[in-house]
């Protein structure tokens, strides 16, 4: 049968040419990679610094690249998504070379096999020494006898005041500075004086106030309670002290009506002059200065039983790679070393107190009123419990406290529900 489909000679050579061209193009990346292998490695770096500090990290990364030639491909994802992506990508061999997470998450990720431990000799080669660091941040990187992280800084809560709003409400002292509440009840009273129209008196958190577990934890700790009982197995949220703290936390919006709605952006509100007193992260203040907001700060007062200050230290961790790459790991450690050496800039520009002690005596830092205040809070610092089940508990906490925030449930019912859910978490 005459095959009308067979190509003529001109078509054949055209096809062959195309094939060769395609082949050559396909080979280009391989050739480029060969050439690139001689150059400095590029490291991938994930973090959740979605606040104003993110920009500062960008600048420091750029400076690092300029000085060392090592490129840093940074990926910023908000924390909840970051944990999920880390969890999924590392087993698939697609994790980043470096990640910045929180101290509280290390037990969880370490026990899930997501992180590579670092040994003493590696630490030694790059000059990381325990005595340089605030002890609790250095110790916190150890899980089951192995070290998984190198500390960076200690983000914490601090109390912000909008000077104009406080003045207008008459809540200033004889020196013209905003009055600092000395108890929870006084805070509520002050907030009530401020709240009017679309201006709110008080907010705890940045975004998604209803789900701000950081603030919720803070109140728990101020009342001597915690997510887990001291044995780190049973939930501690149904204890009376915890319920009391939860009730206080949930009262600002639903009961006293001094706080914005659950999904409000408190940072925008404070910047726009619609929020008087703001208990939020230290990482916000440089952004406030850039936006020229007239504000002052005060140490977190004793709103409940103890003047605890909530902190969530950042730690560098090293996700397990698909295949060991010594050059990449070395580049990563070089980056961490460099950041640690420049941590004073990080503190100054991003507002995060460093975990490295030497930066505390830097005169630029002690000369800044906000940073001074943050440093002074050190004796009252507290952070999350060291259990692999901390992250899972936080995940189930969010919707529960949101219902509490909007007044859909009572504190007791919410905490009992939360205790039930924590008990039901897969082991």
């Amino acid at each position: 049968m005459a095959d009308v489909e067979s190509p003529g000679p001109s078509q054949l050579s055209r096809r062959r040419f195309l094939g060769a061209a395609l082949g050559a193009t396909a080979a280009l990346p391989a050739i480029a990679r060969q050439a690139g292998a001689q150059a400095k490695p590029t490291i991938t770096y994930w973090n959740g610094l979605t606040g104003a500090d993110g920009k500062v990290m960008d600048e420091l990364n750029d400076q690092f690249t300029r000085e060392t030639g090592i490129k840093v491909e940074q990926q910023r994802i908000q924390w909840a998504d970051l944990y999920a992506k880390l969890q999924v990508s590392v087993p698939a061999g697609e994790g980043p070379d470096l990640a910045l997470i929180h101290l509280v998450e290390i037990p969880h990720f370490a026990s899930d096999g997501i992180l590579d431990p670092i040994d003493e000799s590696t630490l030694g080669t790059k000059g990381f020494r325990g005595e340089d660091y605030i002890p609790s941040t250095w110790q916190g990187g150890i899980f089951q006898g192995k070290r998984y992280s190198i500390p960076l800084d200690v983000p914490q809560h601090i109390l912000y005041f909008n000077v104009k709003i406080m003045k207008d409400a008459g809540l200033v002292g004889p020196d013209g500075k905003p009055k600092v509440p000395s108890s929870g009840a006084e805070l509520v009273a002050m907030a009530k004086q401020i709240t009017k129209g679309d201006t709110f008196g008080f907010a705890l958190g940045t975004l998604n106030l209803g789900q701000y577990t950081f603030g919720f934890h803070h109140m728990l700790w101020q009342n001597g309670a915690n997510i887990y009982a001291p044995d780190l197995k049973k939930p501690g949220v149904a204890e009376p002290a915890a319920v009391e703290a939860a009730e206080f936390w949930g009262s600002f919006h639903a009961q006293h009506k001094v706080a914005p709605p659950a999904n409000a952006n408190a940072r925008d509100a404070f910047t726009a002059g619609k929020l008087g007193i703001w208990l939020a992260g230290s990482w916000n203040f440089t952004g406030l200065r850039a936006a020229k907001v007239d504000f002052t700060v005060a140490p977190v007062p004793r709103l409940l039983k103890q003047p605890v200050v909530w902190t969530i230290p950042h730690q560098y961790v090293f996700p397990k790679p698909k295949a060991v790459d010594a050059a990449k790991r070395d580049a990563v450690l070089t980056h961490v070393r460099w950041m640690s050496d420049h941590v004073a800039e990080w503190t100054l520009k991003a507002g995060q107190v460093s975990a490295l002690k030497k930066a505390h005596s830097d005169s630029r830092i002690t000369g800044d009123p906000v940073l001074r205040t943050l440093l002074a809070q050190a004796p009252n610092w507290q952070f999350g419990q060291a259990t692999p089940r901390w992250v899972a508990a936080e995940n189930v906490t969010r919707p529960v406290i949101e219902r509490l925030y909007i007044g859909q449930v009572s504190a007791r019912a919410a905490m009992e529900d939360l205790a039930r859910q924590i008990n039901a978490l897969p082991a």
């Binding site: 999920a84 709605p261 995940n395 909007i406």
Partner: protein
Amino acid sequence: MLRKARLREGRLTPWLFLGPGLLLFVTFRVYPLLDGLYLSFTNARLGRTQPAFVGLANYERLLEDTRFHVSLWNTAFYTIASTLPILAIPLLLAVLLDRGIPLRAFLRSAFFFPFTLSVVTVGLAWLWLLDPVVGPFNYYLKTAGVPVRSWLADPSTAMWAIILTTVWWVTGYYLVIYLAGLQDIPPELYEAAALDGASGWRRFWAITLPLLRPVLLFVVVTHVIGSFQVFGQVFILTGGGPGDATRTVVQHLYETAFRSFFQFGSASAMAWVLFAIILGFSAIQFRLLRGHTEF
């Protein structure tokens, strides 16, 4: 002669034509479907290479999973509450546009435009529009004297805000479908009815609606099956909040499998429950409207 010509080709030919697509389909539709059913009876989770058989345990756990029940309820509410607006609004627009009015092409394009956007873009645009402090939506309502609140933060209005967003997004698509359907109606019917003294409204009820029935059926079925699986808008606008007020089944599934718990077995059980519900609904739908359409 034809028969001989056909026979010459050989038995294999149909399968050669069907082959690539069928391979694709079996590997990526049939196999996962059945594998999902299998997974739903195991304790599979991310990182667990040897999942063990656990019988009906996952399904039993669903009976106690209050968040799953809430998400089923929310999804049902969303589907039902959005059906009337999505049926009616594009229909109304189509009928109006069908009157031989000037600028018809521009109007059709304007209403269709949102449909070309991805669900994330739509969600982001409305998230910003509905911002309680600086969003124009609340600002103009306030100036008009309408009491406003943070629509997305209030559990009683959050779902409606999502429905509004969806209506904005898909109206143009259904509008075009209705327009095509309306064009198939012979104008003589209207003329005859008008001559008989029928008002516009009567003409609509007696002629337009009945003749549009197959299109209406298509719209309802498409909309319902899609609504059961709503995810993108909810994810962007409320993330399932406030307090799970807008949490939907697919979101619960997504979080169980890929965000919070990485439990593949549980998530597969959820998926099959959803599938059973959709199948059940489709069966009812078809039984009710059997014989009225040709598919």
